[in-house]
């Protein structure tokens, strides 16, 4: 180890404890003093620490009094430290840890695949809901709920999409799958929005249910139609209610013997949904017109629509049975020109059958 001597205080010790300033060697307290004085005079005040090239700068091993370690960059390094400094190796544990980290990352991404799928469908659904494409959003959001039925966000989005597209049952399923419809934050704005639509939809459904029951009773068709219209108005998102309301209007028109209105509504419903049921109803309306006017053209149209209804029941046993019941009454109306409703027809001609 090389020795040095301070030019000011003549302290002698290892050269590594000294500093070079203006070509002279100083100990630490003396170099501070000299540097400060130089600075006060406006002269250069920078000083550097002296290195002992016989001592390795990293591990401190001495090369002996006569030899020096080679400089690597600006530092003297021993034969052991020099290659390490030039190319510091990654420790084995670090390589193993980083490999484990990468494996963990791969596993995390694989493990998260089902969540990525659920998240992706939720975000697509959310975007479609924001764009008011509720019916389109619903299948995406239902897919999210399959994986995450407890997600408040997914449940509320699904319920909103379902309710906004008139599908109360899907909204109910979403709620039931989420702790029976319990939400922690009852003041959340999304929750309150969905709750308000839900309350409106349920009130409409109750009215529709009541209207349906009234519609099955004699002499209440007008009242049933009124209730169904109220339901359709309060929950316009459900197009089925509006269609049902028209169906009840049809019954009310028949009940008050307004056969022109009856025919007009029946034709409208048939145009919108041409099936065995609507075809048979148009036939019934034409049969009414024939019964009242005796015009043969109405009779022909009634028979034509009845044939069309029959053709549409083929392959559908349930529809076929319904058609048979209806056709029997229409034929009676055409043959006798007497207009009686189903309960009266049943009393007159089917009471014996029902007893059997």
């Amino acid at each position: 180890m090389r020795q040095g001597t301070c030019c000011e205080c003549e302290l002698t010790t290892s050269i590594r404890s000294f500093y070079g300033f203006n070509g002279r060697t100083y100990c630490e307290p003396c170099v501070w003093k000299a540097s400060r004085e130089a600075k006060e005079k406006g002269e250069p005040s920078e000083y550097v620490s002296l290195t002992d090239n016989s001592v390795c700068a990293r591990c401190g091993v001495s090369s002996g009094e006569t030899s020096e370690h080679p400089l690597v960059g600006k530092l003297p390094l021993c034969a052991t430290c020099a290659p390490q400094v030039a190319n510091w190796p990654y420790p084995v544990w670090l390589k193993a840890s980083l490999a484990a980290l990468m494996i963990l990352l791969a596993f995390a991404l694989m493990h998260g695949r089902k969540y990525f799928h659920a998240g992706r469908t939720m975000y697509i659904g959310e975007r479609l809901v924001e764009e008011s494409h509720y019916a389109e959003a619903l299948p995406f959001l239902q897919e999210t709920l399959r994986i995450a039925p407890q997600s408040d966000k997914a449940v509320l989005l699904t319920a909103k999409a379902a309710l906004k597209s008139g599908d109360i049952e899907s909204a109910n399923q979403a709620f039931q799958g989420h702790s029976g419809g319990h939400f922690e934050d009852g003041n959340d704005s999304d929750f309150l929005e969905v709750k308000s639509i839900w309350d409106r939809a349920i009130a409409a459904a109750e009215k529709a249910d009541k209207a349906e029951k009234l519609g099955r009773e004699e002499g209440h068709a007008a009242e049933a139609a009124q209730l169904m219209h109220e339901a359709a108005t309060s929950y316009p998102e459900a197009p089925g209610l509006a269609a049902y309301a028209e169906y009840f209007d049809e019954g009310a028109a028949f009940e008050r013997k307004d056969y022109d209105t009856f025919l007009s509504i029946a034709q409208k419903l048939w145009k919108n949904h041409p099936d065995a049921q609507t075809s048979a109803t148009v036939s019934s309306a034409f049969a009414c017109k024939y019964a009242v006017t005796g015009e043969i053209a109405y009779r022909k149209q009634a028979e034509e629509m009845l044939r069309s209804a029959e053709q549409q029941t083929q392959g559908n046993a349930e529809a076929g049975k319904s058609y048979q019941e209806y056709a029997e009454r229409i034929h009676y109306r055409l043959d006798t020109r007497q207009i009686i409703d189903k309960p009266e027809y049943d009393r007159k001609f089917r009471s014996g059958q029902s007893k059997k």
Partner: protein
């Protein structure tokens, strides 16, 4: 604001310290800088360090200083992405997801470069920026913001950064993927 000693924070989030220092070492080796000493983790301040040769090459200086910031941030986003959806959005009880969130946040909260690294970058960048060095121009605002955030560590700016990256990163990622 509550105080938790740095060594305890470093211990709880030790993967982030190791990843950060490994990042420094990686970029030192990439730019063939001499490395005099490395500590990947210890109970002290700093919790880890890499003592390396000072480079005159600004690109090397930039990547050695900022490399761990980008690497830690990226790993934070990736690990938190695996955990973000089940924990925050889907409310699925998945213990593995919590483990990934801890790992992601640990890595994210040790993303900030040290003030020494940032000071070196800050000292070298203006001159080069004036001469049109794009990396130097880019590094100035980044270094300024990170310097302030680094000083705000005592108000948990590092944890705040980890949480922000661990939540906002995945949200941005998944929303982009859902387009």
């Amino acid at each position: 604001m509550f105080f938790i000693p740095g060594p305890i924070i470093a211990f709880v989030t030790f993967p982030g310290v190791i990843v950060h220092e490994a990042g420094h070492l990686f970029f030192c080796k990439l730019f063939k800088l001499q490395v005099y000493d490395v500590c990947f983790f210890r109970f002290g301040n700093p919790a880890g360090y890499v003592v390396h040769e000072k480079s005159e090459n600004f690109t090397a200086m930039f990547f050695v200083s900022m490399g761990p910031f980008f690497a830690n941030t990226l790993l934070c986003v990736l690990f938190c992405s695996a955990a973000f959806l089940p924990i925050w959005e889907l409310k699925v009880e998945d213990p593995i997801a919590y483990f990934y969130y801890w790992l992601g946040l640990s890595i994210g909260m040790h993303a900030f470069p040290s003030t020494v690294d940032l000071s070196n970058l800050w000292a070298a960048a203006p001159d080069l920026a004036r001469r049109g060095n794009v990396l130097a121009i880019v590094s100035l605002p980044i270094a300024a913001v990170l310097y302030v955030l680094n000083l705000a560590r005592f108000v948990w700016a590092d944890l705040g950064y980890g949480i922000a990256v661990g939540i906002l990163g995945p949200i941005a990622l998944f929303r982009a993927l859902a387009r």
